[in-house]
């Protein structure tokens, strides 16, 4: 993470305005963010703070109303296999087996059947779903579906993994397990991860940088580098000290608004 290296993603003065009937909604206002290769960044904030909008702009699903979103210095014009998205509600293809879902990207790139099979085997093992290779999504639990979604993105050689509250719909135990697995994958693969959440604890557990966002209009409130050693212990005093600081940053804004 050398400061001088080209950032993988740069967000320069990005604003996003939606028009709903006669209302104008400032989803995101003058956001600036620079992400280096290999970072694990959490975007955190209450609903309406623009964190999902920012993530969708990075994915190329939405275009900024003003400002620039760049990847390796080039404008992000649309969705691309180099930027994989993991959705909260999985968005798996229900008619494809686990195996075919993971192989969807490689097959779309035009790789041969043997090559696709090799890639699928590798990533199905990585997320521990070898036993369920031929199951369909509706036969899987939420945690397993999200593992398929993660494997699908990794199998496609994504450099940047964008995750939109991916564990928000899971029960606490499954969530913890998936958080551990995600960290394990991140440490082994040196991927860059941008992870949207509204849970402070999840952000501190996962990220090496936490970007706090506040609503009305959505904007970046602060950018916090965490140098807490891993594995992190949610019950440690250091963890709780950080939690207090970040919670204060999240809620200070609420206080200002209410006054």
């Amino acid at each position: 993470m050398a400061e001088s290296a080209t950032p993988i993603v740069e967000i320069k003065g990005v604003s996003k305005v939606f028009r709903l009937q006669d209302q104008t909604i400032h989803a995101l206002s003058d956001a600036n963010l620079s992400i280096n290769k290999g970072e694990f960044i959490c975007l955190i904030g209450a609903s309406g703070c623009g964190k999902s909008t920012l993530l969708r702009i990075m994915a190329g699903f939405d275009q900024p109303s003003s400002g620039e979103a760049l990847m390796w210095g080039k404008p992000i014009a649309g969705p691309d296999p180099s930027r994989g998205m993991v959705f909260q509600d999985y968005a798996l293809f229900p008619w494809l087996s686990v195996r075919a879902n993971i192989g969807f990207g490689p097959a779309s790139r035009g790789l041969g059947a043997a090559e696709v099979k090799q890639i699928v085997d590798k990533f199905i093992d990585l997320v521990g779903l070898a036993k369920f290779a031929n199951a369909y999504p509706h036969q899987l639990s939420g945690g397993m579906k999200q593992r398929v979604a993660i494997a699908r993105v990794l199998a496609n050689d994504a450099e940047l993994v964008l995750m939109d509250e991916p564990f928000g719909a899971l029960d606490a135990m499954t969530r913890e397990r998936l958080q551990d697995e995600l960290l394990d994958i991140w440490e082994r693969t040196k991927l860059t991860v941008v992870f949207v959440t509204h849970a402070v604890e999840e952000a501190i557990l996962l990220a090496n940088r936490v970007v706090v966002m506040t609503p009305g209009p959505g904007r970046i409130e602060s950018d916090n580098l965490l140098d807490l050693p891993r594995p992190r212990d949610v019950a440690s005093p250091e963890f709780n000290a950080i939690r207090r600081v970040l919670s204060a940053k999240l809620h200070s804004h609420h206080g200002k608004k209410a006054a």
Partner: protein, 285 residues
């Protein structure tokens, strides 16, 4: 990385096993017994009503049963309709499946167009919505003028009957694809026309299948109207002849055969659907 999934599929399957083992005979036959209660009661009522002579125009179940045997294999009355069941059934089946196939050939592409192309929707949808309430019976005279007396008219009417359910369900299916799936496909490198084959069509198959099933059901439903067009053979033709000749047992035999043939044909389609759509949680009919 070892994963022990909470609430896994394997655990659910092993929990279900002992229950299956203790299943009683009654539990196994319950669906069949329950399904037979209403038909048996109806048959009993029919028997009582005819033997008590509440009506003289309807034959007894026994007479109909006897006639059904004669209709199927002959040897009892040996009249013009003896042992002709197969001929009539095959004639009707060819019209039902032919008309249905024709309807599918038209309805699927038109439905996909209306569902995916806004211009096509604006061009065709209002017209088809006005045409749709017109019953197949109302089309009978025009159909006979356009296609003449006989089999061509029968095909056309059956086709018309099966057309709308296939069309409407196809439109619904291709329109109601989860937008997230398009985003997922495009971030995985599947764009443009490839999304039609890889996302729209497979996502629409459950709806399209429902449309085909309803369409085939309606094809059987309108077969009598279709065969009012002066065709010599077919179950509809037999029923119309029975009416003209005041042979109510012939009419009832025709009705029963249509009911059973339609039912069996639907079961085959459902079995096919359960296999092809085994990925879909909503398709276990």
């Amino acid at each position: 990385m070892a994963i022990v999934e909470t609430g896994s599929v394997a655990a659910a399957a092993s929990a279900a096993a002992p229950r299956a083992a203790t299943r009683t005979t009654w539990a196994r036959f319950k669906p069949t017994v329950l399904a037979l209660i209403v038909p048996v009661l109806l048959l009993a009522f029919w028997q009582v009503a005819t033997t008590q002579q509440w009506t003289r125009l309807i034959p007894t179940p026994y007479a109909v049963g006897e006639y059904m045997i004669d209709f199927a294999v002959g040897g009892i009355y040996d009249d013009a309709y003896s042992a002709t069941l197969t001929t009539h059934l095959l004639a009707s089946m060819s019209r039902v499946y032919g008309g249905f196939a024709l309807a599918a050939i038209f309805a699927l592409p038109i439905g996909i167009l209306i569902g995916r192309v806004p211009t096509a929707r604006m061009l065709l949808d209002p017209f088809l919505q006005v045409m749709r309430p017109i019953p197949v019976t109302a089309w009978l005279p025009l159909s006979m003028i356009l296609f003449g007396l006989g089999a061509k008219s029968a095909f056309a009417l059956v086709c018309l009957g099966a057309f709308y359910p296939i069309l409407l369900n196809t439109i619904f299916g291709v329109r109601s694809v989860d937008p997230k799936l398009f985003e997922a496909a495009s971030m995985l490198g599947c764009r443009g026309n490839a999304q039609f084959y890889k996302v729209v069509l497979p996502a629409a198959t459950p709806s399209i299948f429902t449309g085909l099933r309803l369409g085939l059901g309606l094809a059987w439903f309108v077969i009598v109207v279709g065969e009012m067009t002066g065709v010599p053979q077919g179950l509809g033709a037999v029923i119309m002849d029975g009416r003209t000749l005041s042979r109510t047992e012939l009419v009832i035999c025709g009705m029963i055969v249509i009911g059973l043939a339609g039912y069996l044909s639907d079961r085959v389609v459902v079995a096919l659907g359960n296999y092809l759509l085994r990925w879909s949680p909503n398709h276990h009919g």
